[in-house]
Symmetry: C2
Subunit: 409 residues, 2 copies
């Protein structure tokens, strides 16, 4: 079902010095598939994260925030798929803490040096004993070459594993960036919208790393939406092991910071786009570009209104040039004082709306043609200013309903 | 498809003295069905309306606002189904004005005394000549008994016509209230969310009538949501012909005002609920009640977050007690400082969430049973204050996608 998205070729996934990955079958999601993933980081690794803005943040998200606030030394992380450990109250926090303790005991560190992550069904207690039982196998499989297996182990309704690598040179020294993500539903651009882990062997101080994780999230994962629902478990974590020979980046003002950011951004954007390409039931990959906005916030509101509208998304699924729905969505974005007579809309290269009215050159045949491809760009010019944004989404098909109606069965 | 919603029995639709209705086939929507509806009001009738908050308000909405601002004498209204006359620029305004002029010529009034309404596809020019050609038949069919036929003529993807009547006594005199509405998709509670026309023969001054239309909209049509999209054409119009023998209501402080409001509210709530019952693809009618909120706005945000979530709606379609999705939706409502450990949730009489965690008494079997009925109430107590609200919605089925993917075919 995924739109122009092939599974990663393991040969293309570059190991990151200082990061080992292990997987195991804990039997939390389904029997017979891996659903537990462990990352172990070399001493001295620095880790930063951004998390869901949902008020019902899951227990592991709460624990991650605590641990990241309390220490600069994160030695590993553990992820289970199939259970979100959310809406589970005190028992959920205890389960997440116990998971950290189990991992820490084997790593010979404190539980506070481990980050826990969960993804899956909400409101079910996490079966920690199944994690405990699977941990020996998980540790036994640790290797620097297991990025592909790790990407598979964190999948829920993803149909394709998501992993991307890039390398570049900073100050004459090669650095590597490799990341994995899982996405699918309950996704909208309001903080990282899924689980994503990106590691690099670059050397970077804690302060610029913290800025970096936010900057990258804003321009990648926060630009993806599938259904407008923000998960309780969204997490994006950036790990810098410092194991390359590059010099340490001490400040966001250094050229090296911008170089590293560009490479990490490339990985993050590729992962983010792959999440939209593999949105639940997706048959089309849609880029919504909004320009001419007075503010970035305004541009984002308009892009999100389009990308979230079930009516727009079903029209794209049907390749039905019912493009009036775009107008309806823009009009619902809550932009104060919007002068609709200044708005232009293109689908691909076809002008649909010209200064607020149907373009005289526009024909239904053109519209139908423009909506057929598997990759479509919608461009909206609000004619109000110079701010712009870009959001990636997918269409809304029968299969979205099917997948979500039958998620747990 | 509609949930527990029978077509109106014409024998139960009470004529309103001073309101005549006519219908005709203009061939705008489909051949062989009525799609044009005319109401003519007796001299002295007072009319008030509330309209969509979408920035791309359709041409007829713009004209309605102008006419209502310019005169207290509205003599009639004309509605076409099948074309929204929206995103049509100057040509659209000209088409709406010409429609008014055509009606006014036959009513021997000014175009400014006529209100135009359109519902249907956006971004297509309104074929005014088809309206002109059908108007003679529309006028020829005018009668006080045609409320049922009028309700049918304004339908788009509605599967059941929506019409409701009530009568009551004000100061010893009987008054009658009859209303019709159409709804289906592109619906959310942000101003009247569809077309609705309610008429009464009660006698009421212009100022309290204006208050009345807003109060009624807030507690009826603004509480309905199907898909969270607000149409460009939403309109709710209240007509008071003053033809009953009741005394004039001069102020909102009179007991008679409250009596009239109660009767009109009853009609409006029945119509609003019928819109949710007949939401596109609906198989379940869902009432979301939120209490214990700090403010009414906060209660509304939470209720809407639940009612708009595609993930919640597909779970209800499947009768799958995947109730963690309710938590996710509540957490996304943007309530600042929400203490999730004070939140309780019931589905029907089953307690699902107890102070932020899964209720110990809750079982999946109970959840599955509670989600089976065609009518379901979700109750959320935020434990923060005394404000509350109520929203009506429906589930999200394969047929929503089907109807909207194939809307124009």
């Amino acid at each position: 079902m995924a739109v122009n998205l092939a599974p990663p070729n393991p040969a293309n996934l570059l190991p990151v010095r200082g990061v080992e990955l292990g997987v195991a079958q804990a039997g939390i999601r389904k029997q017979g598939r891996t659903d537990l993933m462990l990352m172990r980081f070399a001493p001295g690794s620095r880790v930063a994260g951004v998390f869901t803005q949902n008020s019902f943040a899951a227990a592991p998200v709460q624990i991650c925030r605590q641990h990241l606030a309390a220490t600069e030394s994160i030695r590993g992380l553990i992820v289970n798929a199939g259970n979100a450990n959310c809406g589970t109250g005190e028992a959920g926090l205890a389960a997440a803490n116990r998971t950290c303790a189990l991992v820490a005991a084997r790593m010979q560190c404190a539980p506070g040096n481990v980050l826990p992550f969960s993804t899956g069904v909400i409101l079910e207690n996490l079966p920690v004993e199944r994690i405990a039982a699977a941990l020996p196998a998980c540790f036994a499989s640790l290797s620097e070459g297991a990025w592909g297996a790790a990407a598979e182990a964190i999948m829920t309704t993803d149909t394709v594993a998501k992993a991307v690598s890039r390398s570049s040179t900073i100050g004459g020294q090669q650095i590597v960036v490799t990341g994995i993500a899982k996405g699918v539903g309950m996704l909208q651009p309001n903080m990282a919208t899924m689980l994503a882990f990106i590691a690099t062997d670059a050397v970077i101080a804690a302060a610029p790393l913290q800025t970096l994780v936010k900057e990258v999230a804003d321009e990648s994962f926060n630009r993806v939406t599938v259904d407008g629902d923000t998960s309780t478990n969204d997490s994006f974590v950036l790990i810098a092991t410092g194991q390359s020979r590059a010099s340490e980046i001490a400040s966001v003002k250094e050229v090296a910071y911008l170089q590293l950011r560009a490479t990490i951004m490339e990985v993050a954007i590729a992962l983010a786009q792959s999440i939209a390409r593999d949105g639940e039931g997706a048959t089309k990959f849609i880029t919504v570009e909004v320009g001419g906005a007075a503010t970035a916030d305004e541009a984002a509101r308009v892009a999100k209104a389009i990308a979230h509208s079930p009516l727009v998304k079903t029209a794209f699924f049907a390749s039905d040039p019912n493009l009036g729905r775009l107008i309806m969505a823009i009009g619902n974005a809550g932009v104060v004082g919007l002068d609709t007579s200044r708005i232009n809309i293109h689908i691909g290269s076809i002008k649909v709306l010209d200064r607020g009215g149907r373009a005289v050159t526009y024909t239904e045949e053109q519209g139908a043609l423009a909506m057929k491809p598997a990759e479509i760009t919608i461009r909206v010019d609000l004619g109000r200013g110079n701010a712009n944004t870009r959001v990636w989404t997918c269409d809304f098909s029968y299969d979205y309903v099917k997948i979500n109606a039958e998620y747990r069965t």
